[in-house]
Every structure is written in C-alpha cells, then in structure tokens.
C-alpha cells in the first residue's frame, strides 16, 4: 500500500490548528458555503449516501441512509445530537479531532444540520473531555462571530444554534437513546426501539444522532465529492449483496503494549499487524504479542495469529469478533495473563451496566465475580462454561436486553473462552493467584 496522505488529521499538530482563521486559510468552511449556497438539503444527503459513508461510532450504519429515515416534510423542530460521549475503553480518536481541529468537525455538524433541516444541534460531550469542551466552546463562539452559525447563514435563510451539553461520567450515554434520555435530564436508560430516534428522539421530535468522526468525514465528502471518498478503503464484497463496503479514511488508536501508542489515520482495511508494526513501533520491550482488542473492548479479543485480519467493517467478523467498533487497537504482550485482561474487561462492564435490563445488570456482575474468583485462584471447573453461557445469553442479539451494551460485555468473554481456553483452564487448575496486577481497595 502506498503511503497514505492523512485527511482528517492533516492539520493536527500544526500551529494554529484550532483557530478559525487558520482553518479558513486552509480552505475551511468552503464546503459549507458550497452546500448552503448551491445545493439543496436533499442533494447533500444524496452526496453523503452515494459516498457510502458508514458511522464511525461503532455500529457502522450508513450515515446518509440514517438521514433519510426522518419523516418527509416534517414541520420541525428536528434535532441533531452529536455523540461526543466517547467512552469505549481504549478509544480516543474523537478527542484528538475535537481538541486539535475543532472547526473541521464543527463544519460537519453545520453541514449535517443543513442536510437534515435541524434547527438546533446538541453536542453531547463526556465530562472527562474538559479540554475538548473549552476548545469547542471557543470554536463555536468564533463560528457565531463569523456568521457560520446563528441566523440566516450565507443569507439563505438557514438558521442553526449549536449547544455543548456535558455528561456526567456514564458509559451508557454513548448509546444513542441513552444519550437522548440523558440530554433530556433523566437517567440515561436506553429506550426500546422502535420508534427510532429519526422518528421520535430528543424531546419527542425527529432526531439524528451521529458520531464526531462521522461528521468530520461529512465535511470532506461535501468538499471533495463522493468519488474521492470511494477511492479510499475497501469496496463491497461482490459475494455479499448486503455489504455496503468500507469506504473512506478511518482514525485508528493504538495503545497498550506497543512502543508508540497514538492516533493514526489510514484507509479502512489496514491490518492489525500493519498498524502495530508500521505505526505503533512494534510490541514493547522486544516481546511478542499475545493478542489484542480490535476496536474497543466490546468488539472481542483476537489472538496474535489473527493479526492479519483487515480492519474494515467485515474483517473482525471473520475472526468471530463483533465488528469494527471504534478502530481502537489495544495490544497485550505474551507475559500478560489473559485472566487479568478479562478481569479488567468484565469489571468495566459490571460497573457501567445501567441496570435497566436484568440479564445485563446481573450477567455483567456474574461474569465479573467469576473472573474475580478465577483470578484469586478459586476458580471452579464449571466456570468457563458458565461464563460462556452468560456471555451468549445477554444482549440484543439473543433478544434479552434493550441495548447493545450487554452484547459488547459478552463478546470478549465468549472470544476468550474459545480462543484462550487452554490458558484459562490451566490457570483454574493450578488454583493459585499468579497474576501481577495490583488490586486496589473495594470498589
């Protein structure tokens, strides 16, 4: 693959990457002017649809198609909610986009609001991203001052208000209906769908919820055209009529046991091995990798042998993972115990289950407790089977919960029991604690 020229990250790290003047000097807000002055909202939707852009937040739903689910000719208000609750462990690409190039993202927000005819956009930002909050607030104020936000934008009668809304530290707010409930001032319990947000979302009005990276892509699709977008990435599998393809650039995070953790941009379809070797500086301390998390911990676990799997919307599924997720790869080396990795993952989900659906509230707790006893050397012979059974029976896929949190909680457990069975069995058999991580207090 020839060296790829970054698009989304092209301004990151340059002086003045956050300022509106710098952004305009680099050609910023031209896409917005083009759209508002020469295109109808429907044409913007068609452009994004024909580019084949799929949501970058985890589920990979085609963005343009989502926009067409809005009721036709709705008198309004229609809301745009931007999902900036990036809480998937090991994921931080949205933070980089917001902190380093806020106007690229903000232009995408305004373009999207124009396309879906939204009057108000709420950017739901996790509280932990304080720097993003301050940078974005400045960017929004500057955009109002320049007339890119507010009333009668470009003299075309297009009005838009953008507000930042800070969360309060709950993973479940990243689920789109949980986010809406939280925005409305309630506990972030996901809603039963249908109705989907496009029909009845925030404040019971039609609502589009999109991820930050997705909206940053919209800016470039409008600016450079759908053909440019489709020249990057992986076309649909001709043998699979339902495959929408994996087009476009994607941000990937590399963390864990690598020499150079960070955020990089590459076309969809890059392999995990390439990501680690070419961009992550290889596994640290001269060791070998034991495995990795392919796209945030909800997506499952892969072994070192599976590192040649391409990171596109189909690749992870071929090695029994849930999907591409957020494109955040976390590597663990050969000296790491899979028990520690799994313990950490189950503890996370047990802590973050919102408690609305019993299978998830109880199931995540059970899995954590079982991992805890295995880790302490008190595992039982039947534990792996119980883990597997719980993992396979919680979630939307088996049909027992309202949202996908439980699917994500079960997936890494299911994968680990299948792919690292020998190690887990061996650990249980030896019957004593040999992992290295320190455990802190009771929490």
């Amino acid at each position: 693959m020839p060296d790829y020229e970054p698009v989304l990250l092209r301004r990151v790290g340059k002086p003045g990457s956050q300022s509106i003047d710098g952004y305009i000097a680099d050609g910023g807000y031209q896409a917005l002017e083009k759209a508002v002055t020469t295109m109808t909202p429907e044409q913007v939707i068609d452009t994004v649809k024909s580019a084949g852009l799929r949501g970058r937040g985890g589920a990979g739903f085609p963005t343009g198609v989502k926009w067409t689910f809005l009721p036709k000719g709705h008198p309004g208000p229609i809301y745009l909610c931007v999902n900036g609750d990036e809480s998937e462990p090991c994921t931080f690409n949205n933070r980089v986009l917001m902190e380093e190039d806020p106007h690229q993202f903000l232009e995408g927000v305004i373009l999207t609001a124009y396309a879906v005819r939204a009057w108000v956009a709420y950017i739901y930002l996790r509280y932990e991203y304080g720097r993003s909050f301050r940078v974005l607030q400045q960017a929004i104020d500057d955009a109002y001052a320049k007339g890119y936000l507010g009333y009668d934008i470009f003299g075309k009668g297009f009005n838009l208000q953008v507000y930042l809304h800070r969360g309060a530290g709950a993973y479940i707010c990243g689920e789109e209906t949980g986010l809406i409930e939280s925005l409305e001032g309630k506990r972030a319990w996901p809603r039963i769908k249908p109705p989907f947000p496009a029909v009845e979302g925030a404040f019971r009005k039609p609502t589009i919820v999109n991820n930050i990276e997705t909206l940053a892509c919209v800016t470039h699709i409008v600016q450079r055209g759908p053909d440019w977008f489709k020249s990057i990435g992986v076309p649909p599998d001709p043998k699979n009529p339902r495959d929408a393809g994996s087009y476009g650039p994607k941000l990937f995070n590399i963390s864990g046991h690598v020499n150079k953790p960070g955020t990089i941009e590459a076309p969809l379809g890059i392999t995990v091995r390439e990501l680690i070797e070419k961009y992550g500086g290889g596994v640290w301390k001269g060791r070998k990798a034991k495995g990795a998390i392919p796209g945030g911990i909800s997506m499952g676990i892969i072994t070192e042998k599976e590192f040649d799997m391409p990171l596109d919307f189909n690749g992870p599924g071929k090695v029994a993972c849930l999907g591409l997720g957020t494109g955040a790869v976390t590597v663990f080396d050969e000296e790491t115990s899979i028990v520690d990795v799994l313990y950490n993952i189950t503890r996370f989900f047990s802590h973050e289950s919102c408690g609305q659906c019993t299978p998830c509230r109880e199931g995540t707790g059970w899995m954590y407790k079982i991992l805890d006893r295995i880790r302490r050397g008190q595992g039982r012979r039947e534990d792996l089977q119980i883990l597997d059974e719980v993992a396979k029976n919680i979630g939307i896929m088996p049909g027992t919960t309202i949202c996908g949190l439980a699917d994500g909680a079960g997936w890494p457990v299911k994968n680990a029991v299948q792919k690292f069975r020998d190690e887990l069995e061996g650990y249980i058999k030896q019957g004593k604690k040999t992992t290295s991580l320190t455990l802190v207090g009771a929490h």
């Binding site: 090991c90 931080f92 933070r95 932990e128 909050f133 309060a168 939280s182 950490n344 320190t438 455990l439």
Partner: protein, 159 residues
C-alpha cells in the same frame, strides 16, 4: 432567603433558552452547583427542582444515576483526581498508580486527603490511552504518570 446564591440561580436559569424542556437543564444545574459547593446538598436539590418545575425526587433520581455527583455527606476536596483503571492504562501500570496514590494520601478510592485538598477516584477509561497510565485533574488530562512522577503530581495538587 434561598440556599443557592442569586448568582448561581441566574447561571442555572441562563440555560433554559437552550432546550425545549426545563428538565433538560438538570445536568447543567447539577454541574454548576457541584462546581461551586463541591457537592449537591439536599436543599440545593429542592431549589433546582423548584427552578425547573420538577419534583425534588426527579432531580435526585437523575443525580444519583451518574456516579459523578456527591451528596452533602461526602463533599469533594479542592481537586478531584481521577486515576484510570481501564484496560489500556492497566496494561501500563494504571492499577499500581491508583494503589500508589491512595497509599501516599492514606485514602481509599472515593476518599479525600486529610488536608481536604485532593479527592482520589478511580475512573473507567478517560480516553487518554496514548499517554497511559493517565489521570484527570478535575477535567484536564495528565499523561504518562509513571511511578517517578507521582510525588511531583501530588505536590502540584497540594499547592
């Protein structure tokens, strides 16, 4: 005479035009109160509810869902230090860092140092994985807090 200062009440009311429902101001109001008072006292809940045409139970319901807000029995110290314990940090010493910080301040996660200056919390992934192990100082990241940097970090926060 209300419990919340006039200034705070005005700041809360200033959020109302942003949303079509008053209830949506619940989280902003709770943040404003906790930022200033370091907790959300019971009387503040009553007055937020009054400002937003809600019952205090509705505000309390939302508030307690998010582990973020403190009741008046457990106010925050001057600085809230979140130590990440999720996978990317744990793989690079996050758990040890949390343990070390707790030991040096003689607190458990959630507790406040005796001088009232630092409240330590464990955090689930705070999105600073490229600088693992990382912490949040209130809402600002500090990256790569390796064991040799813990003393310096705590000294900064004690000042």
């Amino acid at each position: 005479m209300s419990y919340l200062s006039e200034d705070l009440r005005q700041k809360i009311l200033a959020y109302l035009p942003r949303y079509p429902s008053k209830q949506a101001v619940t989280l902003p109001a709770l943040h404003l109160v906790q930022d200033e008072l370091r907790c959300v006292p019971r009387q503040a809940i009553v007055e937020i509810a009054d400002l937003l045409d809600l019952s205090p139970a509705e505000v309390h319901d939302t508030m307690t869902f998010y582990g973020f807000f403190r009741e008046e029995e457990k106010p925050l110290g001057r600085t809230r230090l979140w130590v990440c314990r999720s996978l990317a940090c744990a793989l690079r010493g996050g758990e040890e860092l949390l343990s070390d910080v707790c030991q040096k301040l003689n607190v458990k996660p959630g507790g406040t140092s005796a001088d009232g200056k630092i409240t330590v919390e464990f955090a689930e992934c705070i999105g600073g994985c490229e600088g693992a192990p990382c912490v949040l100082i209130n809402d600002e990241h500090r990256m790569n807090v390796t064991p040799d940097k813990v003393e310096g970090l705590l000294a900064d926060l004690r000042q």
